[in-house]
């Protein structure tokens, strides 16, 4: 891709020319659906050749991880360039060539906390879509109280021995590796005895079991660890300091989940989506009023995401304020889906009806304000850490 010194408008032209020349026509301007997402991984099968071709071309240009350094397979772009790339992809209807927890979460964590060997080993396969990662955070007794993790990693001299159970591990049954929070010191205060460990899912002793959700889908699993031997080199950062990485990643995750409200409709107005579902729905005064209000809030929220990113970029960090993005974005997303369901009426009630999987998507949004920290935990964080209101 072009050198960072290039003028923004020239960069925009180059990017859009490149997208038009390289993104297969069959992929462009298609509605978002489950099978349009490319997750990658050892066992991945592409839906069609065009999907494979698009990933291949994009990753050669570093476009699967636009902001990562080029030596790890990234695009080496500035934030403004990435923004232009995103805008042009949205404008031209080009889908993301690859999506994954490796790109969203593990990569940023390794770039911030990993050693050189870990970065060189794990980052490039992520950008190529060769290794699919999952996140092992929550446990049956560690939901909102995440630091209560009980999965143990015992120091056996030349390796760690891991025993315990994770829950809500997204796509664990399809992932190749897991990054997990494990307890390495049972005597320390709960935040101080946690480490951040990487494990190959093919290691003997790891098993997964999908959890069926109200949406009928099973994007989450229970994951069990039974005397799993993990090489010591797979510990990221310092031993017992994993909570720092967890907090860093939660910030990322919250921004990402919160951003779903914007990513969902990719710049199209809510009115246009409602119109697509039922071209008479907007004449209903209640639907129309709610759609206008949701559109107002969505646009202002998208601006807020940008403002916070600019703030982080300028060195200000986002920190606890990411709780706001998570809270607001997920509540907004739920509101938008309620509205889409109302607009579609009884046509939306079949699992696979005139509007495809809308019902399942609607039900899925109910998890948005639970996963990655509930709305109530986000409000607690804002009240205590941002507004500094007194404790009981």
């Amino acid at each position: 891709m072009p050198a960072p010194a290039i003028e923004p408008e020239q960069f925009r032209t180059q990017i859009s020319d490149w997208i038009m020349a390289n993104c297969p026509a069959s992929l462009r301007n298609q509605p978002m659906s489950e099978d349009s997402i490319v997750w990658g991984g050892r066992r991945w099968t592409f839906r069609d050749d065009d999907q494979r071709l698009w990933l291949e071309r994009a990753r050669q240009q570093g476009l699967t991880a636009p902001r990562w350094p080029t030596e790890y397979g990234g695009g080496g772009m500035t934030r403004d360039q990435e923004k232009i790339l995103r805008e042009e992809m949205g404008r031209l209807g080009a889908p993301p060539p690859l999506e994954s927890f490796g790109l969203w979460m593990l990569g940023p964590a390794l770039l911030a906390f990993g050693n050189e060997a870990q970065k060189a080993r794990h980052l490039p396969p992520i950008t190529r879509g060769e290794i699919r990662w999952c996140q092992g955070y929550s446990e049956p007794g560690a939901g909102s109280d995440l630091a209560n993790v009980q999965t143990r990693a015992e120091d056996m001299g030349d390796h760690y021995l891991v025993n315990g159970q994770k829950v809500w591990t997204s796509y664990a049954d399809r992932a190749d590796w897991i990054f997990a929070l494990v307890r390495t010191d049972r005597d320390a205060p709960k935040h101080k005895g946690i480490s951040f460990l990487l494990m190959d899912m093919e290691t003997p002793g790891i098993t997964t079991r999908p959890i069926r959700l109200i949406s009928g889908k099973s994007p989450f699993c229970e994951t069990f660890f039974d005397n799993v031997k993990v090489p010591k080199e797979n510990l990221v950062g310092e031993v017992n300091r994993g909570w720092d990485i967890a907090k860093y990643l939660l910030t990322h995750e919250r921004e990402m989940i919160g951003g779903g409200a914007r990513g969902l409709l990719g710049g199209r107005s809510l009115g246009a989506f409602i119109d697509d579902l039922d071209d008479g729905a907007l004449t209903d005064p209640v639907i129309r009023t709610e759609a206008m209000a949701a559109e107002v809030d969505t646009l202002a929220f998208a601006m807020t995401m940008e403002r916070y990113k600019d703030h982080a970029e300028a060195g200000g960090g986002v920190g606890n304020a990411s709780a706001m993005l998570k809270y607001y974005g997920t509540e907004l997303n739920k509101r938008r889906y309620e509205l889409l369901m109302s607009a579609a009426g009884s046509d939306a009630l079949e699992w696979d009806g005139p509007h495809g999987t809308l019902a399942a998507e609607w039900l899925r949004t109910k998890a948005n304000s639970i996963e990655g920290g509930t709305s109530e935990v986000m409000l607690d964080i804002i009240a205590k850490r941002v507004l500094e209101l007194p404790s009981a």
Partner: protein
């Protein structure tokens, strides 16, 4: 679009404005004005003019500071924090923007008068209970070389104190049509114009203006006959954005007051701010304020960069600010409990000004509908 973060210059402007207003225009000043029956303090406006605030949108060659709309928004927002009353919005933002769009030496002189703090303006626009410029019925009939204006305007901000009045009149077409409207710039003391201050809840200057065959010369016509919208559209955009900024500042002001109260007020042997029920509501309000802050900054940036295409940004800001200020004052009064209901406490001033700001220059429904229209539905 450039960043919505404040630049270093903007941070300095904000800090300077805050420092000045805390000293010169605390809420106590609003209370004193109200008790004296005075809508605002002319001395305060002179000081603001000396700092360049009156000329914030006036070109440098007319003696202005020409700081732009984002800067005007920052000043307006800070005024909202302590509810500082001044002719800023009517004069420095709305009238100055209309005059900037009218060419000629006359407009330039008028702008110089604004920047100097000598001339203040009121925009006489609405005739009914809702903002609707196209519903103007006030007639301007040709009379010799000039016009004769007859009709009434209501809810004219700064209408009883301004030295000049920008009046929207119908020179053609029928009420309900956006065409056939003309804008006149006349002396507020002109024969046939009577002004009656309305006793509004916010204790500011809002007036009813009655025009009984008021003479206007061709020179008093601002811009072209039947061409008011070319001047009025940008003036309203600017005014709506600055009013939105004031409402956002108002939300900041009452929210800070409420958070202070949550920390100090004790019941059941603990600070009431330690109760989760109140914490969550305070946190939700903060989130709404943050989201609105972005829309305010965006409107200022768009008006400075692409002013001809600002409707979406401006209406988004006014809609958001109206809703957020409303939430902030309702939560403010409720969380203060009984004390917030007393006139001795300042919280009520915020609620009353928020209500007026919600209606002025278009309410939530008006602006939400404009956002939807700009977004294609």
């Amino acid at each position: 679009m450039t960043s919505l973060l404040d630049t270093e210059e903007e941070i300095m402007l904000r800090d300077a404005a805050r420092g000045f207003l805390d000293g010169a225009a605390p809420i106590a000043a609003l209370r004193a004005n109200r008790d004296a029956g005075r809508p605002h303090d002319p001395g305060l406006w002179r000081e603001m003019a000396q700092m360049g605030w009156a000329g914030v949108l006036v070109p440098e060659d007319a003696g202005g500071a020409e700081m732009g709309h984002r800067a005007a928004g920052i000043l307006s927002q800070e005024m909202g924090v302590t509810l500082a009353a001044s002719p800023f919005l009517s004069t420095a933002v709305i009238a100055a923007t209309a005059l900037r769009h009218a060419a000629g030496a006359r407009a330039r002189d008028a702008l110089a008068g604004i920047a100097a703090g000598e001339t203040t303006y009121a925009l006489a626009l609405d005739e009914g209970a809702r903002h609707a410029p196209e519903h103007t019925a006030l007639r301007a009939e040709r009379a010799g070389n000039g016009y004769r204006l007859s009709g009434s305007k209501t809810f004219v901000a700064d209408g009883s104190t301004a030295t000049r009045v920008l009046v929207l009149a119908r020179t053609g077409g029928a009420p309900g049509e956006a065409e056939g409207l003309s804008l006149f710039d006349i002396d507020a003391e002109r024969a046939g114009l009577s002004r009656a201050r309305l006793d509004t809840v916010d204790a500011r200057d809002h007036a009813r203006l009655d025009f009984d065959a008021v003479e206007a010369t061709g020179d008093d016509l601002l811009g072209e006959a039947d061409g008011a919208m070319r001047l009025l559209r940008p003036a309203l955009d600017a005014g709506q954005a600055a009013l939105a900024a004031e409402l956002a500042g108002l939300a900041n002001g009452i929210s800070a007051m409420t958070l202070g109260y949550l920390r100090e007020r004790r019941q059941f042997e603990r600070a009431i701010g330690s109760f989760q029920a109140l914490q969550h509501r305070a946190a939700h309000l903060w989130a709404e304020i943050e989201v609105t802050t972005s829309a305010i900054a965006n409107a200022g940036r768009v008006l400075d960069q692409t002013p001809d295409d600002a409707t979406l940004a401006v209406s988004l800001a006014k809609a958001r600010a109206t809703k957020t200020a409303d939430l902030a004052v309702r939560e403010g009064i409720q969380m203060h409990g009984g004390i917030g209901m007393t006139d001795d406490h300042d919280a009520g001033f915020y609620m009353k000004r928020a209500r007026v700001g919600a209606e002025w220059l278009g309410d939530y429904g008006y602006h939400a509908a404009r956002v939807a229209a700009a977004r294609g539905f």
